[in-house]
């Protein structure tokens, strides 16, 4: 497993734990009220699990498993995927800042734009690896 996939997947596991922790508190709160402010963490719960866990673990696996080139570099333009990793994680926290922490009206749209850019950079990297064994 390449180093960048290890970063993606370790980060995804951290978000899995964060997302499940927040989700467990919210679910327990439904059955046995803990604190009314907990509901403000619902957007963070969704963000951690959808983007932090599902999208990130998928990108990590794809960077590892998609067909590689016969010659070096076997995974072309890895810098595009590195930028995707950085932008995705920045975007997640901007969205959480804008929703759960109510840091300001621009955090949510800017966060979404950064996440969109992350996906675009990852697609640019992955596109040329989506090929048959013959490279067609």
């Amino acid at each position: 497993m390449p180093r960048l996939s290890q970063w993606f997947i370790r980060a995804a596991f951290m978000y899995l734990l964060l997302g499940f922790t927040v989700g467990a508190l919210l679910l327990a709160h439904k059955g046995m009220p803990l604190h009314p402010a907990l509901w403000s963490w619902l957007p963070a719960h969704i963000e951690f699990l959808l983007f932090g866990w599902v999208v990130q673990v998928t990108m990590g696996m794809a960077f590892w498993i998609l067909p590689r080139y016969w010659q070096q570099p076997r995974r072309p333009h890895p810098e595009l995927a590195i930028i995707a990793f950085l932008l995705l994680n920045l975007g997640i926290w901007l969205v959480v800042a804008g929703t759960t922490f109510r840091a300001g009206p621009w955090f949510l749209p800017v966060g979404r734009a950064v996440e969109m850019a992350a996906v675009a950079f990852f697609a640019l990297h992955a596109w040329r690896r989506i090929v048959s064994r013959e490279g067609a």
Binding site: M1, Q6, I9, R10, F13, L16, L17, F20, T21, G23, A24, L25, L26, L27, A28, K30, G31, M32, L49, W53, V54, V57, M61, I65
Partner: protein, 143 residues
């Protein structure tokens, strides 16, 4: 494909089917006069999909495909893997039962079902991460 992965993936497919069946029922018009508890299954539908299908499928594939630790114990402590599987599924099913019960009869004392469900699912995630963390590494090259 290891036995635990087969259980994860087959369970995931059953949850996907259940989630879509529930989605169909929830989409019926009000005139269908569904029992009240069905209306409280909306969050359960989403979690059957995201936890039962998506997360469980990912867990199964990860357990199968990640680099092995050693030839002697390729996927780590298998008991931890089975514990994670059991905790996740019992926890999720408790939610499916508990959420409509709490919704329809909030004063009947079923809240503990949701707290138990929360704890079990959280433990499932922690257990799976502990089991898998040592396998996030370069390919096994012996030794």
């Amino acid at each position: 494909m290891p036995s635990l992965t087969r259980w994860y993936i087959k369970s995931a497919l059953i949850y996907l089917t259940a989630a879509l069946l529930l989605a169909l029922v929830l989409a019926l018009p009000v005139s269908a006069n569904l029992p009240l508890f069905i209306r409280y299954l909306n969050p359960a539908y989403f979690h059957l999909f995201m936890v039962g299908w998506v997360t469980q499928m990912i867990f199964g594939v990860i357990y199968w495909m990640f680099p092995i630790i050693t030839r002697a114990q390729p996927r780590g402590n298998a008991r931890l893997g089975w514990a994670s599987y059991a905790l996740l599924n019992v926890g999720l099913l408790l939610r499916v039962v508990g959420e409509p019960l709490v919704g329809v009869r909030p004063a009947a004392g079923f809240g503990w079902l949701l707290a138990a469900s929360a704890l079990l699912q959280w433990l499932a995630a922690v257990t799976f991460v502990i089991l898998t963390w040592p396998r996030i590494k370069e390919k096994y090259r012996g030794g």
